[in-house]
Symmetry: C2
Subunit: 160 residues, 2 copies
DNA sequence: CCCTGTCAGTTCCCTAAGGGAACGTATCGG
DNA sequence: CCGATACGTTCCCTTAGGGAACTGACAGGG
């Protein structure tokens, strides 16, 4: 399809999308997160094309989000597990779930619930400020240029 | 490309991806969030194809994430603004930024900084539990079936 | 020892989605 | 009238996704 490269942009959203922006990637991560770690299981659970699944898994392993591990050597079998980098992406999934529950769940209610270990209650994530611990939303922040803002076109090609 | 439909899945991640899972959508939202609200500006800023931008904007408006508003009637000109639904998606962007900053920013540091209105400090989002206010991450939760979880299997199976 | 089954992919073809450029329309300013 | 601006739409080309068939490596059963 000749997709534009996101990885080179000076934007953390674009660079995150470069890693997990392909349509199936978050769902693959979700499955591995809940313990569906083998090729066959993931493929059947999602209904994803085997070809695309193989591509995505390879990409996610290359990018340090997943690890491919042998769980049987006699018939050589592998499973995929989350790295720390991948686990932190699952936080992103929790926020996606929160939005999906609020805006797309409809009458039936959320398909999945989350029980917090610390309090034992069914709950959902909320965003707080890392400094003052108060709620922090998109409406509560000013956006300022940071140190990595446009390290200039030495390596970052934004326009062809 | 004959893409599989995500919107019908009983999964809030899939349904969220159905709305903003197309590669450019988060970047379009980001631009509108920071005040780049017109077609021409967005197109030039992102380097996105005009065709795809028109498609995405239409889709996002149809799905209630954006509103198309006339800011000039004499030459009929429009701009796009976030709905509440769209603004809440920007919270998701903040979490994406956080991950991108941590794992993809490299030496140069984050390209963009966020200053929290409440405390005036440069900070980032952290995920907390909506019930007990303690930190809540993907490792801190149990995943349970919810009310909207696939009512189909009730006929085949009695109980889990 | 062959047959079947399972797992983890790979290869093939077809279709549809993204990229890019040109074109269309509406208006204003000079 | 001519150009510039803003917002798309249309066209063609390339490429990525879907789907099914195929491969390979082994295990278990008869």
């Amino acid at each position: 399809m000749q997709r534009t490269r996101f990885g080179d942009m000076a934007c953390s959203i674009a660079r995150t999308m470069d890693v997990i922006g392909e349509p199936w990637s978050p769902l693959i991560l979700r499955n591995i997160y809940v313990g569906i770690t083998r090729f066959e299981q993931i493929q059947q659970g999602l209904g994803i094309s085997r070809k695309v699944l193989a591509e995505r898994l390879r990409w996610l392993v290359e990018n340090g989000v997943l690890e491919r591990q042998e769980y049987s050597s006699r018939p050589p079998r592998h499973e995929y597990t989350l790295t720390v980098k991948g686990l932190e992406l699952c936080d992103l999934l929790l926020v996606m779930v929160r939005w999906g529950d609020r805006w797309t769940a409809g009458e039936a209610g959320p398909p999945v619930l989350y029980r917090h270990h610390a309090c034992g209650e069914i709950s959902h994530v909320e965003l707080h400020c890392s400094v003052c611990d108060q709620p922090m939303h998109a409406t509560d922040v000013d956006v300022l240029p940071g140190p990595g803002a446009e390290a200039e076109e030495t390596s970052a090609r934004t326009s062809p």
